[in-house]
Amino acid sequence: MTHEATLPTPLPPTLEIPAAELLATARALKAQGRFDMLLDVTAVDWPGRSLRFDVVWHFYSTVTFARVRVKTRVAESDPAVDSLLPLYGSALFMERECHEMYGIDFRGHPDLRPILLYEGFVGHPLRKDYPIRLEQPLVPYRK
């Protein structure tokens, strides 16, 4: 007897948009779709692809309890998208994390200092080409 695999909640619908349409899409989602909460900003690294990075946003509506995922692709040479900080305050920290981990540049973000990493860390550790055992210690190791 086989069991049908059912997900407890269905995966959210995904909008794949060009990077230039991000702000307009987010505005429409917030105004018309009543997606009033930005849950997550992250990225996916696809080494070898011409537009190397996916930048992913997750939205949630506390009115309709719906979720939606927005994806866009950016190139390695110019990994920049618009900041959603004017629309969602929660973007402040999440875009900082995405910036330090993947090197995505959020245009219009006022303060892209590292949030989990430390000052002086070179590189972006969640990119696939970051060496897996490379450490950048702050304290010199004992002999």
Binding site: P137, Y141, R142
Partner: protein, 174 residues
């Protein structure tokens, strides 16, 4: 004396008229070591999930107070035993080093759990692969997290070591 006693012999006063001890003889290092091993004041440098096991082992059912090592001091200047409980990241390593340097001698360090011992499964950009790369460690407690019995065994082994150590704070004038 021909034989060296391994424990402190206590000679009751023969004609004192009461049952208390009038004097005892020992070696200075043994006496100080005996006192120090039962007054370990741990500084819990607790960073991660091993803290749950630390709480379990220091509270009633396992009770490290039986070994004189239960009262945590949250100032490094008042503590003897630095218990590094959990993962130490590179960002946190300067803090750990500063805490260690602020502790007064004599001091001992326990690496509690797999992460403090070796980094555990965090072999990546963020975690220090063992706190012994930063500070000297006296005793390692394996396990993810360690069983309370393991921690108690480690404390007892550390106590045995303290009891057998030289305590060079004592000079010939004492």
């Amino acid at each position: 004396m021909a034989t060296v006693p391994t424990t402190i012999p206590i000679y009751p006063a023969a004609k004192a008229g009461h049952t208390s001890f009038e004097y005892l003889t020992s070696k200075k290092d043994e006496l100080v070591g005996w006192a120090r091993k039962f007054s370990l004041f741990p500084y819990p440098f607790v960073t991660a999930c091993c803290a749950m096991e630390f709480m379990a082992v220091s509270s009633t059912p396992y009770d490290t107070d039986r070994f004189g090592a239960a009262l945590p001091r949250f100032s490094p200047r008042q503590s003897d035993l630095l218990m590094v409980v959990g993962t130490v990241t590179h960002k946190q390593a300067p803090i750990l080093l500063k805490v260690y340097e602020q502790m007064c001698e004599p001091k001992w360090v326990m690496a509690f759990g797999a992460c403090a011992t070796s980094g555990g499964f965090y072999q990546n950009y963020a975690a220090v692969a063992g706190i012994d790369k930063i500070i000297p460690v006296d005793i390692y407690v394996p396990g993810c997290p360690p069983r309370p019995e393991t921690v108690i065994d480690a404390i007892m082994q550390l106590q045995a070591r303290i009891a057998g150590d030289r305590h060079p704070i004592l000079t010939d004038k004492f």
